[in-house]
Symmetry: C2
Subunit: 555 residues, 2 copies
């Protein structure tokens, strides 16, 4: 078999065998929406569970579950209302919407770095054909927000909302609950596995660019001034393939990459190591995995460092995980938008003496002048900087405004001892695109072989995430072999975490082939001898080796 048409054969098999299917296909389907089918559904939930188990090992991470429907204010604070958009143009002939940068890919080395005006100019100059109808009649390029919008509530009580573009925001807004849960001890993390949404202008590349996708994110909150003691030694014998900003690809250990300042934070490095372990554990080929650092102009302005785990497969090198040091941006944004504090306290090793040089009220004059408001005026005046000049109008907490004159105030100079301070924690965020990862796990496991001159498909899925653990076959469904096989199948199904499949149709060879195609690690055959001595034939997917063992030793 050659590589020609491999992607089509693989996609066809995934659909036929029930891994991944276009959703709602009998109704004409909808681009960018996929089902995980009878085989893929289990694989998805095993990958999700494996991901959670993997990060739970940190010992200071909890799982959250927040709504996908999200009020406008939350995503305005996060910046998504303003900035989560692609540049769109519509075909004046057939009406189909396209991404301007996609249309210009054959004509520019990096069109997604272009600004609106540049895209506009190039589009009108090049006039690429519409992928829908072939005509060349493009509308003005405009920024199209990529969030699915909806209304929360009915009638005039309805409020605008969106489907979340990521799971992260619910974890940021939960910061205070997390801080309380961890008894105010940083670092700690929250993680969430769930749906994210991105109303793509023109979805393509199958599972790579979906409108509704499965994601898994960890928000890890750290004190930027604390010593974190990230242990990178577990990866000292396993160098990673890194492409740093402005550099070439190197094979290097995480310890060395930190020492050389390629990776700018040790926790980012540690999370890269954990990410690699997770991906390899579920079946990604380590030789087709690399970490690429974002270039300065590619990275969000607030980010300190960002590395993508890229996996090579049928669509080339695809970003599947992003590990970003986001500084204090997220918590600070929500603080600013809400006026609530999202902070942790840092105790000083030694109490610090702090000199305050500012203003307070002169009770003798301010008391009679402001009467009942005098207390509130004092609070407000003490918050003013020393550079304030009087008279000066100030706002009190209750909203009232008063004019404070020179005669009402006096300098307030004192030294106080502070034992600690409140600060906004920084966030390191590993964000995993579960669908893309599952796609690549399948892509790497899918092997096109030949058997007796015929094409033969073998899926070498890791037993950790294989959708079916055992396939049980009765040689024939007679003489009690069917019942014995069904009982064994039922017993296996009753073991928590195990899935067994019963298959009685066709020759044993055909059944092995069907099981191999979906990656069942172990097939078990019940035959005449089983009825006599309680043994079955157990056959290994990858080696094809067969052994006879007793049924009791299986369950």
């Amino acid at each position: 078999m050659t590589e020609d048409g491999r992607l089509e054969r693989l996609s066809g098999m995934l659909k036929r065998r029930g891994f991944l299917l276009p959703a709602f296909e009998i109704h004409g389907g909808a681009k960018g929406l996929y089902d995980f089918g009878p085989v893929g559904g289990r694989m998805r939930s095993r990958v999700n569970q494996r991901w959670l188990d993997h990060w739970l090992q940190l010992g200071n991470v909890v799982e959250l579950s927040c709504p996908t429907v999200t009020p406008y204010a939350v995503l305005e604070a996060s910046g998504h209302v303003g900035e989560f958009s692609d540049f769109m143009t519509e075909c004046g002939s057939c009406g189909e919407a396209s991404r301007a940068d996609t249309l210009l890919e054959p004509h520019h080395p990096n069109p997604d770095a272009l600004k609106r005006d540049e895209l506009q100019a190039l589009l009108f100059q090049v006039q690429p054909p519409c992928p829908g109808c072939g005509n060349q009649a493009w509308s003005e390029v405009k920024a199209q927000n990529l969030m699915f919008n909806t209304t929360i509530g009915a009638g005039d009580s309805g409020r605008p909302g969106f489907l979340r573009p990521e799971t992260a925001q619910g974890m940021f807004t939960s910061f205070n609950a997390l801080h309380r849960h961890f008894r105010e001890r940083l670092p700690f993390g929250a993680m969430q596995v769930g749906k994210g949404y991105r109303n793509e202008i023109a979805p393509r590349q199958g599972m790579i660019r979906l409108r509704e996708f499965n994601m898994a994110e960890l928000e890890y909150f750290i004190d930027p001034e604390a010593e974190l003691n990230d242990d990178l030694s577990p990866w000292d014998d396993a160098p990673l393939h890194l492409i740093s900003d402005g550099g070439n690809g190197v094979e290097i250990t995480l310890s060395e990459a930190c020492k050389q300042q390629l990776i700018r934070h040790p926790t980012v490095a540690r999370f890269m190591g954990i990410t690699r372990d997770f991906l390899v554990d579920i079946g990604i080929d380590p030789s087709r995995l690399r970490f690429r650092q974002h270039e300065q102009d590619e990275m969000a302005h607030y980010a300190v460092d960002c590395w993508d785990a890229e996996i090579e497969g049928s669509y080339g090198w695809i970003e599947c995980v992003g590990i970003a040091h986001r500084g204090c941006y997220d918590l600070e944004s929500h603080e600013k938008a809400t006026g609530k504090t999202l902070r942790a306290r840092r105790e000083f090793d030694e109490p610090r003496t702090i000199t305050i040089d500012a203003w307070t009220i002169d009770g003798a004059t301010a008391g009679p002048a402001f009467k009942a408001l005098a207390g509130a005026v004092k609070t407000a005046v003490e918050a003013l900087p020393k550079s304030t000049s009087f008279p000066c109008e100030i706002s009190l907490e209750n909203g009232a405004k008063v004019v404070v004159g020179e005669e009402h105030v006096k300098p307030n100079q004192k030294t106080i001892k502070e034992t600690g301070e409140w600060y906004i924690p920084h966030v390191i965020e590993p964000a995993f695109g579960i669908d893309r990862i599952i796609w690549h796990v399948i892509d790497h496991a899918y092997s096109e072989l030949e058997k007796n001159g015929e094409p033969y498909t073998l899926m070498r899925l890791s037993p950790t995430i294989a959708p079916v653990d055992y396939a049980v076959f009765p040689l024939f469904e007679k003489d009690g072999m069917g019942e014995l096989a069904w009982n064994l199948h039922q017993t296996l199904c009753k073991t928590s975490g195990l899935v067994s499949m019963y298959d009685a149709s066709g020759s044993i060879g055909r059944r092995y082939a069907r099981a191999d195609e979906i990656g069942v690690p172990i097939c078990i055959t019940v035959d005449h001898q089983s009825l006599e001595d309680g043994t079955v034939t157990v056959r290994d997917r990858d080696t094809g080796e067969q052994h006879r063992i007793t049924i009791d030793s299986l369950s």
Copy 2:
């Protein structure tokens, strides 16, 4: 402690300890949207996993995962576009939307059974006060669809869609993939755990009526003519509390209830038994669980039978599970809307001889008359009933219309042998409201006690779904006790499926109290002796008993 205020104390604790919290609260929140917090998140995922494991034991059930964003056509076919609505009225004074039936609850025994006009008349007669502002100025009552709507795609390419109101439809539209997966052998089932959405007009009762909720559904496809051999004997020693349509409550076994025709289908009865086992397994008090049959006018017109599992708690008896025999309604609706077949084949025991008495074409006259169309005319004519009279205009497959005269046709009488037939499977659907179930698990586990004259909270959560399995306490964080405890905690965290919590603040008594409040089954204390002999104190939540065991025996 009295029951007075129990619900408020429980809700307060759930929020404070991070079980359940109003979502996005720092942004003012949104009614009907909740977070599962640092403690509740893990509990939710364990209940979901337990549910999947439970039904997987059937041995002929697979897990699917379908999108939540659903095209209009799918939900039009299912009937949700037309019929998934509540009657709404808006306050002319403050603009708040209310459900008309809720407003009228104090004035009518069963207002949700009223039709629009009846609600309208009663509302105008009674003029109940607005729950928002107290005024009495209600708008016309109108049906308000309860689906969240959105647009799939951008610009003129955008298509209307909704957030799914249930997970079921994606499983019905996947029928052919399921049928293929199970090698065309019924019965089989598909199940899905995921989000459902209902844009409530006015959410209330906390976790009972959410706008975005967690649900778990199984669609079990059966041949209505097959012998199913549902074994009800496992429940012969465990009678259930049943309230049948028109009957009083009885304690009765499932076998007996089927014999008496209270339950109308044995698979429905078996699923009621499995449902009971699941609920009791995760901690529902069996004495506060009952099954209530829908009355004829409460049941959808197509349904054969429907039983709700109701659980008693702080809000009275609440429907938490529905087990419905839905006949062939769902698959038939999607067939009608799409023109695709969603069928299974039933082989006859003996081939059947079928007499066909209808029409065919007379080749000698129809051939010259219809020329190239003659074949298509033949197909169309043979599909006509014997009662057809000619001449008659008929539509051909290609859309063309022709007039067929008496001279073109002749009677077509023949007998053929059929070995089987295609039919639309029936569906039995257990649908679980996971949030409501978790609420009641917590409600039943929550115990208000006294200890040394102080109120004391103990959560008697089942270890199968407790959010934290172990709490590890160093007696003090010095002399190496902190390190030893942290290492033990880390080791426990590395065991798949286990969650450990490390707590070093306050007295051991305070730490036991905090662990008891969130239902940690086992607390482990590391003290001076641990440093010497490697033993720790293990304390049981429910009995308070303490034992010393070696660390090695734990991990």
